[in-house]
Symmetry: C2
Subunit: 203 residues, 2 copies
DNA sequence: ACATAAAACGAACGGTCGTGCTATTATGGA
DNA sequence: TCCATAATAGCACGACCGTTCGTTTTATGT
């Protein structure tokens, strides 16, 4: 890896942790350069626009996410273990020390969901990928007979993601120490619904 | 209402819809003044700092939220109807045309949850109030016998809020037309769990 | 109608922003 | 070791930021 690539990686790493706190738009090239003892223009030369920097930050985050959440979880056996691994590893990811501001995809989503442009588009692709991982893992569980066939995988994915998002809010904003336990309890209930017999509440 | 109060209210209204799109921090006093055909300094004089403006924006949003979501829903009978009303009215609120960027509390939460200060503190109070509304409504349902006694109201509140948050993501970022239906389905399942017999999944 | 107070204005401040240019320094292959 | 090239620095730009100040316009109450 050449010298340029090395510093570029260092910049992206730092920009990632910075934007997990103050948002993708909040990254400032000047502050970033100061933090890394680089000149503003020297840093800027690596990316040729702030937008390119933002896109590469998201790319690095996506790589790390796949490496630390998706790939290991997909080694678990189909059905409950795999889904549980995805969920548990997401919790670990969301409070990893390399992301002092929590999951960057979560904060970036709420920040960019109404700002059209390439960054929003890339973000939507990453999020859709993650939803697809959850839905596909659910389908695999159905095929192996672990989950009910009538279960809608996208429904489970949306509900599961909801538990991760509310965990994010309870743990980060409200600093509620029970947030994590409740997120787990919610997920277990979700799995129970996926496994158990068709549940038609007595009307 | 004096002239000053009138324009102040107009400013806050506009700042609210602006920050639902570009965030609380993203509000710019200059742009706000242009939009309203006011001078920057004239507008600024109404608040004496940007932070004060942000706090008042949150306050206005909270008032509107109570008026259009909480208060009407609390007129519904205890138990399922009241909780359902809270949920349904939240969905309406989140896509109200006065909030072109979705629920401002959601976006502000992800934006400010790592930025200490009075704005973060106020936001946390408002969010906690909303959680308490959900939990209290749940407890009222328990007292009237509509919900199981072993049910943890805070657990239901966190899960319900999760459904709202993932709805926000699916509908706004992914533009998934089924996001709303899935949010409803998830909420119905949540209610069914709250009503139905104690559910101990076969271990 | 007038005096007084409230509200809005215009200009300017020091900063920071992203982004160009041009020069200088470091790196790595021949 | 030399040289082409890559990497970084320095400086300046126009734009916008929140904020202050002194002035002028407008509204309010008598």
């Amino acid at each position: 890896m050449s010298k340029g690539d090395t510093t570029r990686q260092a910049i992206l790493e730092r920009a990632l942790s910075m934007s997990s706190v103050i948002g993708l738009e909040g990254i400032s090239i000047g502050r970033l350069a100061d933090d890394l003892a680089l000149s503003k223009s020297g840093l800027f030369a690596h990316f040729r626009s702030k937008e390119a920097l933002q896109l590469q930050v998201l790319e690095v985050a996506a790589q790390q996410f796949v490496d630390s959440v998706v790939r290991p979880a997909l080694k678990e056996p189909r059905g409950e273990p795999r889904l549980r691994a995805l969920f548990e590893r997401w919790l670990v990811w969301a409070r990893s020390q390399s992301l002092p501001g929590g999951c960057i995809f979560v904060s970036a989503t709420m920040e960019m969901d109404d700002r059209p442009g390439p960054v929003r588009d890339a973000l939507a692709r990453y999020q859709q990928d993650w939803i697809n991982v959850l839905a596909t893992a659910t389908r695999a569980g159905q095929e192996s007979g672990a989950f009910r066939g009538e279960l809608d995988p996208e429904q489970l994915a949306q509900e599961a993601y909801g538990l991760m998002l509310s965990y994010h809010l309870f743990a980060r904003l409200l600093r509620d120490p029970q947030g994590e336990a409740r997120a787990r309890a919610g997920f277990e209930a979700l799995l129970a619904r996926a496994v158990g017999p068709a549940r038609t509440p007595a009307k």
